[in-house]
Symmetry: C2
Subunit: 457 residues, 2 copies
């Protein structure tokens, strides 16, 4: 490998027999501080375990004169632009977050022939393909294990372990804030508002929680997972997105009673239209569906036991079968651990003059949402009088939505009808909801949730 | 990288612009056949996803004249020795199993400058360190993702994602046969013998089930996991091993009632003697405990929900926190999927002339089993008369084993006492058992099981 080799030689030579790789870090938030602690305190252990010595040469922050323990004051700099092109920096780690200036700094680092490591989900979701091409041309690594699901190894397994696998579906609980809120609603019977307040009190939710509760964070991660799993270019705007703010405690309770739990899922799925799982479908003809929405999962599903702020990603592959990767999806130290794994990988590659070629990516062909198929849970308040069920049921029938179970709960003048449907086309279900909304006897359509991972459905 | 580059150049050149890597396979059992199917049917998809074209050039079997669909007859050979040194083979995949001739064939392949991929847990557990040194000297890869827990990516995450992590404990359900037997005992109330017969009927257990039920298979995997997690050389003989044949349905039922499940665990643990988790312990001073034994796990533990033939590995790291990797631990296609991931990795490295350096390994310092600390479950039959509990309890007290809970179940003239202890030294618990055995009022000591993963314990 000629390209990128100049930095590689430098990294190798500066050490004599030992490989020393010098690291520049952008940003000193929770993750940045935790990474610096690891680099300073664990340098010897890292060297013994991995065979490379990592040296921290600088940390770029907005206000370098402000003390930021445990970062030694002399390593702080306000000049990020100079740090990324400094010849004494071998690997650049970006932990600023957001699109700018993170993007231009990484481009400058790559332009200077340096491998880059980032934990920035937003940047990778929006500009991942462009950055990957840039890195490939420069012959350097672009690594971002920490951008999805914190400490959980998911990017590397998808990119390497499953490189030979035809992945059918990736389904993840990738946002700890919403999982904490839904777990708290389910286990303590709180309302959404109460559970959110509790999450805010514990520092698990922002004062403005929209990025989490409206599914933006999960959508960025879904786009990254879909791109890797299916080798196509998926951006956040390709992700259909529903948040959890309308999840009602009544529906969480019915879910429990029916043997389900409510989770916010990021789903990336290959749809081989009209071709059975057994047939050898042409992957180029596959369409992809990428979405974030709350859903009911059977209590026996491996993802159902992922509680609180934990994350997990469930992968279904044609040969590998079902896999799940579980762990801490956020937090300074867990995220720093994943970043450090990438830094060591980049360092190994640098010393050996190797950089992984990114697989070519095709433009995504999105599957129309109306054609998605799923079982559904519906909670409908109706007038409690004879004949109502018949008129409600007939609306389902008109739209070819078949009812699997119905439970009626009396509430004085009203009755609450809890329906679970068989698998139905999303478009048909939406038309059913329209039709139900027009019925005079229907007072309110409450919770409407997909049921996922239930083989009986 | 000069060493190994000759094969790399060859692999690269034979393709012109495209990288073609030629694969030789040893063995055509379930995994071999599944791998050949994938290589033949999915060649185009693999090339599109990974950027390398894999070409199957030969499959070595004992009786090459016997037809073995889907393997084309012209690819079968009886001469494994020639296949591994054949200049038209770039990567060698060993799927024969056992120590010999697998070892000598891999040594010959490495000697000929070829990267090797194996799914052979026994070989890696016994000769892994020696083979890794040999591969490092030759500048080629030795990859064995499929040797532990089939399709589950565990070797690569331990080796790469967690390269910067101080791992405290690895705990796995790594044998599907025993997990099926224990799950069936727990959920259907069968005896060990009945559940084993059911596993044999379904083809999940061998006619001679000893390798599985006596824990040999799990011990080999525990040795591999410990070596990777702690960077030390651990062989199967370093693993303390108990099987599941003495697990009594009565104890499985009591476990359920107390909120636990019984699982066969492979445990590899770092013991920083006398140093709290917060202190920065010198890793060189750490002792390691590696063991396989049945244990009770709280029902809420992530490993508790791993049912039937599934496998999972739970990792606790100082920074990463708790991680779990879950999936199919056996079977032709899942295992072949992991092998294929390694083949693609080796192919990428070959094309780029890169080989990972194995981290240096120290000789393991084993922690004395008597000093291990754990909570325990004990099931003891005693004469049902006044004063018996006092004399039993005094034996616990003499050996500094503190009782957390006791339940008495009357059985006519006898009573069954179910004890759960607080955390106690294993040596003290063993002396307690000796003392109890000498009491005239104790008729029988039944189940004795460790309780693991219970923070209250």
């Amino acid at each position: 490998m000629a390209s990128g080799g100049n930095e590689g030689d430098k990294a190798g030579k500066s050490a004599g027999a030992r490989a020393v790789v010098r690291v520049g870090v952008l940003g000193a938030g929770n993750v940045g501080k935790a990474l610096v602690s690891l680099l300073l305190e664990e340098a010897q252990s890292i060297e013994r375990r991995s065979g490379v010595r990592l040296e921290l040469v600088g940390v770029a922050v907005a206000h370098p004169s402000r003390p930021r323990p445990p970062i030694p004051a002399e390593l702080l700099t306000g000049d990020a632009k100079s740090l990324v092109t400094d010849p004494s920096v071998d690997v650049v780690v970006e932990l600023i977050g957001g699109l700018d200036p993170a993007r231009s700094l990484l481009e400058a680092a790559i332009g200077a022939g340096k491998p880059v490591v980032t934990a920035n989900k937003e940047l990778i979701a929006v500009h991942g393909t462009a950055l990957a091409s840039l890195a490939a041309s420069a012959g350097v690594d672009l690594l971002y294990e920490a951008a999805v699901a914190g400490a959980i190894p998911i990017i590397r397994p998808l990119r390497e372990s499953l490189a030979g696998e035809k992945v059918q579906r990736v389904m993840g609980i990738v946002n700890g804030t919403t999982n904490f809120i839904l777990t708290t609603m389910s286990e303590q019977g709180l309302s959404y508002t109460q559970a959110l307040a509790e999450a805010q009190r514990l520092g698990l939710a922002e004062r403005d929680p929209s990025a989490d509760v409206d599914g933006y964070d999960a959508a960025a991660k879904a786009a990254i997972l879909a791109s890797l799993a299916f080798g196509c270019e998926v951006g956040p705007s390709d992700v259909a997105r529903e948040g959890i703010s309308s999840v009602d405690p009544v529906d969480v309770e019915f879910a429990n009673r029916l043997g389900y739990v409510v989770k916010l899922l990021a789903v990336a799925e290959r749809i081989d239209d009209g071709i059975g799982a057994g047939a050898s479908a042409d992957e180029d003809a596959s369409e992809i569906s990428v979405r974030v929405h709350p859903a009911m999962l059977p209590r026996t599903h491996p993802l159902a036991s992922v509680r609180g702020a934990f994350n997990a990603v469930f992968v279904e592959g044609e040969s590998a079968g079902q896999l799940m990767l579980y762990g801490r999806g956020a937090g300074g130290r867990p995220t720093a651990s994943a970043v450090l794994g990438d830094v060591i990988d980049a360092a190994h590659h640098l010393v050996a003059g190797f950089s992984a070629r990114p697989a070519p990516r095709t433009r995504v062909r999105l599957h129309p949402a109306d054609d998605l198929r799923s079982a559904w849970y519906l909670n409908i308040d109706v007038a409690d009088r004879p004949g109502v069920l018949a008129s409600v049921a007939s609306v389902f029938g008109e739209h070819a939505v078949s009812i699997r179970s119905m439970e009626q709960v009396g509430m004085g003048d009203e009755a609450r009808l809890i329906f679970v449907t068989h698998v139905a086309r999303q478009g048909d279900l939406m038309e059913t909801l329209d039709g139900l909304g027009r019925l005079e006897v229907v007072d309110r359509i409450g919770g409407v949730l997909r049921i996922v991972g239930d083989e009986e459905a």
